[in-house]
């Protein structure tokens, strides 16, 4: 992939650039990322004697390090924004993804900003595991000379809201570093908190680092053609071409195959990317909320400088299906219900988690009557967040279309049917309807740059979506590496997503191996991780042979799969748990083990 002048403001002379091209040509992303880490390391050591192009102040050598840990790209985006601002302010800065950061340099570091999200059930993003583990470990050095600030990204509908960032913030202080300003806790409406945080960060950086003439940084080798043209704030209006149920039989799961027309958007996605959907809440739900609170949907309601009818606020501007801490707190306070208040105490974290998983705001609004004004409601509810869906197609195969596999969240409660906002919005779109979309890049979930590499894809349920894109793509470019897919779902008959496509792929050789686990077709539950263990020998051989391993789907599944993977490596790699852990860590560093979990 060419690193030409398309890369923003390369601080390299032309002939060096050519060398760089020679060096990087044909490298897969693993190699490239390693290289970026390596050059980062060099750059760091340049402190005392910067070369002509790294014009930092020799005597201070002071330079800002921005480190990010990001699963779906938000933290990365914020970190990059900060980097640009710092650069334009003419300060020396380097931007590093957490796993590219040479941790042994922490002790020497003067100024560090960390932007990091919380994943899973309070876990770090995959790319920050090493970084976090190191800092948590006893190997972590004293950091007297370090000043820092941390921005945590999270989602307050998760009980473990922003814990990774918060713990990191505390730990750095514990190690003796100086906290420049308070930990930032960004919810899904990231910028509300991120904007002010970056401003503070900039100011402090200005104070600490004397502005040199020109700045340097490690330019990401992969020039990300900004998908920023369309965003959650400014989505593209796309037409639904197909909305087809993929599951059979009534009852059971309702998974939809959507084909969406991106023509004219200029959106140029790659396998592994996700599509952001800006949903609207179910009409019946909006009415139910209005009824429950005896509010009139027509009332013009103003909030944060915008005025809409209350109905409009609730339909397209506010989160109505996901609970979150602030909302529960507000409900507890308004209804004065002791049980609800108790739930918010740390010791009831599990109960709260269960509540978040099994209830929606409407359930509580109906259960805990309290008087609400429209303004209060709009002020309390969180902005409606877009949802992400793994892209299930390759442009090489479908050109201007994008395909999704969407599990329709729909379930019955005593009080009536409940829906998931986005999946219901999508499941009920008809062909010809318009929906608002944007592209969410995922550089961490990429096919090997080297088409001869084998890939193992583990994607039960809708987790299979990106692998449809992978297989389509590898077929289209004539990749010679083997493709092995592991899929699972409740029932063979009704839930075998894209069954005939996989059968065709196996026939025409674009898929080399497929193993399935249908959990409810026999007495004993059976999942992909069982298959992984069952075929452990082959899995290990493939990995030894350089295969890349991908996991996509539910968070809990990904955890079980990783346990199985560890066992497999212990068994067949004949090592102990630590050795297996190392093995997996290495896979991760080499970007041969990528996960996309939700």
């Amino acid at each position: 992939m060419p690193v030409t002048a398309t890369s923003p403001r390369l601080p390299l002379p032309r002939e060096r650039l050519r060398h760089l091209e020679l060096l990087t040509h044909g490298l897969d992303s693993a190699g490239l990322w390693w290289l970026s880490g390596y050059t980062a390391g060099l750059a760091a050591r340049e402190n005392s004697a910067p070369d002509a192009h790294v014009a930092t102040e020799p005597e201070t050598g002071a330079r800002l390090a921005i480190v990010y840990g990001s699963q779906t790209g938000n933290s990365k985006r914020i970190a990059e924004q900060l980097q640009r601002q710092v650069e334009t302010a003419g300060l020396a800065v380097r931007l590093l993804r957490a796993d590219a950061y040479p941790v042994r340099e922490l002790a020497k570091e003067r100024l560090l900003y960390v932007v990091i999200s919380t994943q899973g059930d309070g876990d770090p993003p995959d790319d920050a595991r090493g970084f976090i583990d190191f800092l948590a470990s006893r190997r972590a050095p004293k950091l007297e000379s370090l000043s820092f600030a941390v921005l945590g990204l999270g989602d307050s509908s998760y009980p473990q809201f922003c814990v990774v960032g918060r713990k990191l913030d505390a730990r750095l202080a514990e190690l003796g570093a100086t906290r420049l300003f308070a930990f930032g806790e960004a919810d899904l409406d990231v910028d509300t908190i991120a904007e002010p945080w970056t401003q503070k960060a900039l100011t402090h950086a200005r104070e600490m680092l004397k502005a040199p003439a020109s700045a340097t940084n490690v330019t990401p080798l992969r020039p990300h053609a900004e998908s920023a043209t369309w965003s959650a704030a400014r989505p593209f209006e796309a037409e639904v071409l197909v909305n087809q149920r993929l599951t059979a039989g009534d009852g059971g799961k309702d998974v939809r195959h959507l084909e969406i027309d991106l023509a004219g958007s200029g959106l140029d996605y790659e396998p592994g990317d996700a599509l952001g959907i800006v949903p609207r809440n179910p009409g019946p739900l909006v009415e139910a909320v209005l009824d429950a609170l005896h509010l009139d949907g027509a009332t013009a309601t103003a909030h944060a400088g915008a005025t809409h009818s209350l109905r409009e606020w609730l339909t397209s501007k506010r989160e109505l299906t996901r609970l979150n801490r602030p909302l529960v707190a507000a409900l507890a306070q308004r209804s004065g219900d002791p049980a609800l208040q108790a739930l918010l105490q740390p010791e009831h974290a599990d109960a709260l988690r269960a509540l978040f998983e099994n209830h929606q705001p409407i359930d509580l609004l109906q259960k805990y009557p309290a008087s609400w004004s429209g303004d209060m409601l709009v002020a309390t509810l969180r902005p409606l967040a877009p949802r992400l869906y793994s892209i299930a197609s390759s442009r090489a195969a479908v050109e201007d279309e994008v395909h999704l596999a969407v599990a329709h969240v729909e379930y019955a409660t005593a009080a009536g049917t409940r829906w998931g906002a986005a999946s219901h919005w999508l499941a009920t779109r008809e062909e010809g309807d318009a929906i608002e979309v944007y592209l969410e890049r995922n550089e961490r979930f990429r096919l090997p740059g080297d088409p001869d590499r084998d890939v193992i894809m583990i994607g039960p349920g809708t987790g299979v979506a990106p692998f449809r894109a992978f297989v389509q793509h590898r077929a289209a470019i004539g990749a010679r590496g083997r493709n092995w897919l592991l899929f699972g779902n409740p029932h063979f008959r009704s839930d075998f997503l894209y069954q005939v496509e996989w059968q065709a792929a196996l026939r025409d050789g674009s898929l080399h191996r497929m193993d399935v686990a249908f959990s409810r077709d026999q007495a004993a539950k059976l999942y992909v991780q069982h298959r992984l263990r069952e075929h452990g020998r082959d899995v290990f051989d493939w990995l030894e042979n350089g295969a890349h391993l991908y996991v996509c789907g539910a968070t809990a599944m990904a955890r079980d799969v990783e346990d199985a993977l560890r066992d497999v490596i212990m068994k067949h790699g004949a090592g102990d748990a630590d050795a297996a852990g190392e093995y997996i860590a290495t896979l991760r560093e080499q970007h041969r083990y990528a996960r996309d979990v939700y």
Partner: protein, 563 residues
């Protein structure tokens, strides 16, 4: 001779019916078998099918068709012990979806078995001393024998011959045991002395009739044996060859044909005669055009005299002149009757052979309770299946009649008490949704169609008239429609050919009366004819005979009788 059909290749390469069945069964990505194995499975008594009702929906959903299988028992003479009935009932409940289906060849089919359950189902069958070998495929099919409840000694004798013949003519390959049981796989180089390495060109059917009953429709069999009884003793059999029902719309090379008499044999000559006819067909049957591969075409292509001579040459004896016989009826006898041995027999009407608990009707439970009662108190009693898709509880000690009557009453099995002759005599094939060849509904249509036809009969004062109606969803004729007084043969969804003029003993084929008409047109046509029948019939005259006498249809040479 032209190119052999592809099935001949499949048979030849199959290592005596093994093919890649084991691999097919193990493939987790599909509920189907590999193409060649689909054909081989038939020789094992199984059929791959899919639910045609949901085909289109699943195609759109990117799901393969909803594949399932039926297994058909090899059950010569249709005789089960009560214990075997219970075992089959349990198997069907566990692995099947549509209960037990009594067929027109006296056996049981279980539909809706998933590929993953096939082995377990076959093992359950084997565990009760039964198998499904050669129940379908190009081999000797289930040997049928008159149910014949009264003459128990004669029945035992003929049933014995049917069983022996079925065992003698079945494939010798161990493929069935290796595929379905845990018998270790071999390279399959055993010999097939009788059937040969490529088996028969087509299915081959043998049946034993005992006058005055023609319940097996002896004229529809490839080889029919009609018992000749002289003062209570079995003297031997009149031999008929070349019967068959199947035809294809618009293919003049295909037609139903009534078996032709070629002579008389003694009971000890049965095996040799059957071997002779079967090997003759094996060597001279058409192996290139499967539509023209049945024995009946071999007979017509070579002419009866040559066939007779060739059979005699192969059998090693000359046939004696036919003795001749008279049939009085073909339908089943229902209700209790006392056999010569003092045991009792209960004939039960099972509409279209479907023994299934459904929509409040609990016949499967009823039959289970009857079988359980017998298994406990009269284990030597039998449950016999009739070629008219009905069941006979045979050999019941007098004291069990009352408890059985009680069960039968509670589970809607006493239809013979209430139903009209029409409801009792009608045969309908399976057809949709499982049959891959169905062009129109059959079994599923009867519950709506029969009452409407009955209403016509009633209107013309013919309520109890024993008209026999046979319905097939396509011209293959699984309900043996061409031998019925009134037949409906599917052409397209909701459309049928109306055939009229067969006789009630199954001794004359019907002829096409109206082509490709819908239910209203069918009822309209019959309305007029029944009105005339009611007005102009001679005393005791049957509907079919009336239609021929009055020239409504011409009894024709069987060749043209095809739909």
């Amino acid at each position: 001779m032209n190119e052999p059909s592809d099935l001949e290749r499949i048979k030849r390469e199959s290592r005596h019916l093994r093919g890649s069945l084991r691999e097919s069964l193990a493939d987790p990505i599909t509920g189907a078998l590999h193409a060649d194995d689909v054909q081989l499975l038939k020789f094992h008594g199984g059929y791959q099918q899919d639910d045609r009702d949901v085909r289109e929906a699943r195609r759109l959903a990117k799901l393969e068709p909803d594949y399932s299988f039926f297994l058909r028992l090899r059950l010569p003479g249709g005789v089960l012990t009560p214990a075997q009935w219970l075992a089959m009932d349990a198997m069907a409940q566990r692995y099947g979806t549509r209960g037990l289906r009594l067929t027109t060849r006296q056996t049981i089919q279980t539909h809706g078995i998933r590929k993953v359950d096939l082995r377990a189902a076959a093992q359950a069958i084997h565990a009760c001393g039964l198998d499904t070998i050669a129940a379908c495929g190009d081999d000797n099919r289930n040997v049928v024998a008159a149910v014949n409840p009264l003459l128990s000694r004669l029945h035992a004798q003929i049933f014995g011959q049917a069983q022996a013949l079925s065992a003698h003519l079945r494939p010798k390959s161990r493929a069935w045991y290796e595929t379905w049981l845990d018998e270790p796989a071999t390279d399959g180089n055993e010999a097939e002395p009788l059937l040969g390495d490529t088996y028969l060109p087509r299915k081959f059917k043998i049946g034993f009739a005992v006058p005055p009953d023609n319940d097996i429709d002896v004229f529809s069999q490839d080889v029919g044996l009609v018992a000749i009884v002289a003062d209570g003793e079995l003297a031997g059999y009149d031999v008929l060859v070349g019967g068959g029902m199947g035809a294809s719309h618009g293919n003049t090379r295909t037609y139903p044909r009534m078996a032709s008499p070629i002579g008389f044999i003694t009971p000890d000559q049965v095996t040799a005669l059957a071997e002779a006819a079967l090997t003759l067909q094996r060597d001279h049957g058409d192996r290139s055009d499967r539509a023209h591969a049945r024995f009946k075409y071999t007979v017509d292509d070579h002419g009866l005299p040559w066939i007779k001579a060739e059979v005699e040459r192969r059998a090693g004896f000359a046939l004696r002149p036919s003795r001749g016989f008279e049939f009085a009826q073909r339908g089943d006898r229902f209700g209790w009757r006392r056999g010569e041995d003092g045991r009792w027999h209960l004939g039960l009407r099972i509409p279209f052979g479907r023994v299934q608990d459904k929509a409040g009707v609990t016949r499967q439970t009823g039959m289970r309770e009857v079988a359980a009662l017998l298994a406990g108190r009269a284990p030597d009693a039998q449950i016999r299946l009739t070629p008219n898709q009905n069941a006979l509880v045979a050999g019941v000690p007098a004291e069990l009649r009352e408890p059985i009557d009680a069960i039968v009453a509670t589970h809607d099995l006493a239809l013979h008490r209430a139903s009209s002759r029409l409801a009792l005599n009608t045969i309908a094939c399976v057809a949709l949704p499982t049959c891959g060849l169905a062009m129109a509904e059959s079994e599923r249509w009867m519950p709506t169609f029969l009452p409407r036809l009955q209403a016509l009969l009633d209107r013309h004062g013919l309520h109890g008239e024993p008209i026999d109606l046979r319905v097939s969803g396509c011209p293959n004729g699984c309900s043996r429609p061409y031998l019925a007084e009134v037949a409906l043969i599917g052409k397209a969804p909701g459309r049928y050919n109306l055939m009229l003029g067969g006789d009630h003993r199954g001794q004359r084929m019907n002829a096409l009366y109206r082509e490709n008409i819908t239910e209203p047109a069918i009822l309209a046509a019959l309305d007029g004819l029944l009105a005339r029948f009611a007005a102009e019939r001679e005393t005791g005259e049957h509907f079919g005979d009336f239609l021929v006498r009055t020239g409504v249809v011409m009894p024709r040479d069987s060749r043209e009788a095809a739909a």
